[in-house]
Amino acid sequence: MLLGILGSPFVCRVKIALKLKGVEYKYVEENLADKSDLLLKYNPVYKKVPVFVHNEKPIPESLVIVEYIDETWKHNPILPSEPYQRALARFWSKFIDDKVVGAAVKAVLNVDVKERENNVKETLEALQFLENELKDHKFFGGEEVGLVDIAGVFIAFWIPMIQEIAGLELLTSEKFPKLYKWSQEFVNHPVVKESLPPRDPVFGYFKGLYESLTASK
């Protein structure tokens, strides 16, 4: 069972992993404004989605869940087999969480102009690291999608949306040609495509959020 919400990039990571492994599961859409008893029972610490429940055992935190999925269903591996490559995959996935997601969301939603400038700068610096790391590979995982690609779904699908809403240029083909190309390959990958949420409602949600924040300035 996967507890999630439609527009969450973190939930999407788990959906992609499950689809790659061909694992069937029950999906439960949560209402975060009115959290279910199920969510509170299965994630008492953070009370957030995603939560993956397997044989009554709950696991929160998207990257922890993805590694669990990879270790439980061993075909179509998501992490490489060699320890140093595995360590790099974990490093860059964590990097995306620590340096890209937070900065990018703040860049869009921050009403303070000076702070917003800093957030944009931070996001661009972080994306540059990823641009360099991708080198000439099709995906961060090589020929096939791996942990870092899955972690990076926020960059490939969410950043283009939120940058359009806020009129920012974060991920562009001029600034980051390799990363931009990667994002196109990634969102069009057959498995990933099926796991992404429909664009319109998610776009609508972030647009509404952006407008309410900037209107209240």
Partner: protein
């Protein structure tokens, strides 16, 4: 393994470098230790960790790794004796979850208690106490997070008790309540008494003075 070179770049007062030291010592792995001067970062550190420019960094046969929890997993997968993580995926997930919880929730709250003043500090202290109580739940009534023997989560989290007690002394605020968090308190004592763990710890007085100076720096620059 002959012909291998293994270097840990660290700082004596860093709990994150300490995690890595513990893992290496527990597995009986030989390595070279390089003490970094964080006020004057070496070219080597900047070369090996250009992204964060921080310690610890582990360099194995010229291949660098940063981020202590990533390094711990690498060590566990490369040297399989005295395993830190369980073979069971669910137990692994729990160990990873609690280690991250400490870094993402407990550490910032304790740091805020340490560096702020007035109402902000009180709020941070309350949050820290709540997080520590939640953390106690992760022990699940066992002797250690890892069960009968210490494991990944113990090594990732064990330093916290030592540090928190120093913070408590410096700012005069209680964070680990000995009655309400008896299990956590007992686990901290148990863990810190283990010979391998104890041997690697920086001396308490040195760490206390270092953090007192750090505290002075933080609180004077905020006025």
């Amino acid at each position: 393994m002959a012909g291998e070179s293994l270097t840990l770049i660290g700082f004596w007062g860093s709990p994150f470098a300490l995690r890595v030291k513990w893992a290496l010592e527990l597995k009986g792995i030989r390595y070279q230790y390089v003490e970094e001067d964080l006020s004057n970062k070496s070219a080597m550190l900047l070369q090996y960790n250009p992204v964060y420019k921080k310690v610890p960094v582990l360099v194995h046969d010229g291949k660098p790794l940063a981020e202590s929890l990533v390094i711990l997993e690498y060590i566990d997968e490369t040297w399989e004796q005295n395993p830190l993580l369980s073979h069971d995926p669910y137990e692994k997930a729990k160990a990873r979850f609690w280690s991250r919880f400490v870094d993402e929730k407990c550490v910032p709250a304790v740091m805020a208690t340490f560096s702020k003043g007035g109402e902000e500090q009180q709020k941070a202290a309350q949050e820290a106490r709540e997080n520590l109580k939640t953390l106690e739940g992760g022990i699940e009534g066992k002797r250690y997070f890892g069960g009968e023997n210490i494991g990944f989560a113990d090594i990732a989290i064990g330093w916290l008790g030592y540090w928190v007690r120093i913070v408590e002394e410096i700012v005069g605020i209680n964070l680990i309540d000995k009655e309400l968090m008896a299990k956590l308190d007992a686990w901290i004592d148990d863990f810190l008494e283990l010979p391998v763990i104890k041997e690697c710890m920086p001396p308490r007085d040195k760490l206390l003075n270092h953090n007192k100076a750090f505290h002075k720096l933080l609180t004077s620059s905020s006025t």
